[in-house]
Amino acid sequence: MTCPPWLLRLGIGRRRFPIWLPLFLLWPLAAALAIVLAPLVLLLALILRPLGWGRLVLLSGPLLFRFLCALRGLEVNLNLGSRLLQISFK
């Protein structure tokens, strides 16, 4: 099973060295938050079911997790002359 990216390398402007953000520090907090919010999400899904949004609310968590996992390996390097943008999920 894949896991979410551990590091985010971010470079904006003309910085010589990009910033390395330790995403792995966020995941335990996000997991704790997901556990706390799970009953509320379930309740919200039941309320919104008649409107057709129940399934979306219920599955949004797992799909969001899958989306985060899939971010690993994403790289965007834009060099527009005076502007520079580097995003890399490791």
Binding site: R55, L56, F67, R72, L74, G81
Partner: protein, 142 residues
Amino acid sequence: MSDSQKRILDLLAEKKISVDEAQRLLSLTEPGKDTGTQGPEESAGTKGKPRYFRVQVQPEAGSGKESVNVRIPMALIHAGMKLTSLIPGHASDEVNEALREKGIDFDVRNLKPEDFEELVAALTDLEVDVKGGREKVHIYVE
């Protein structure tokens, strides 16, 4: 025998290439043979499913320094496809209507993960090279 192999033999018969060159070219056309000189799409084909979708825009020599290099994991595209299956019916209608206003006659409900699998399989053979006046665009999967 594939068309490319026949073509190589034709070139050899016409004495446009040497025996050594023909041998080298024929070895390149053999499936699964690792010659170390394969392109990105070929390496993806022999190694299985492609993992990344790449878009590179490089400036031609002496025409500025602007460049774009994007690597998108196929899993990310796949995850996005899964999200579309959760769109409620009435939201799909609104999206279709907005697309129609832009002149795009497309039904988002027709987007299915199975179609995406077929598309990914087809992408292994895809490589697009566009050479413009100032930039060179290279789109491929790896």
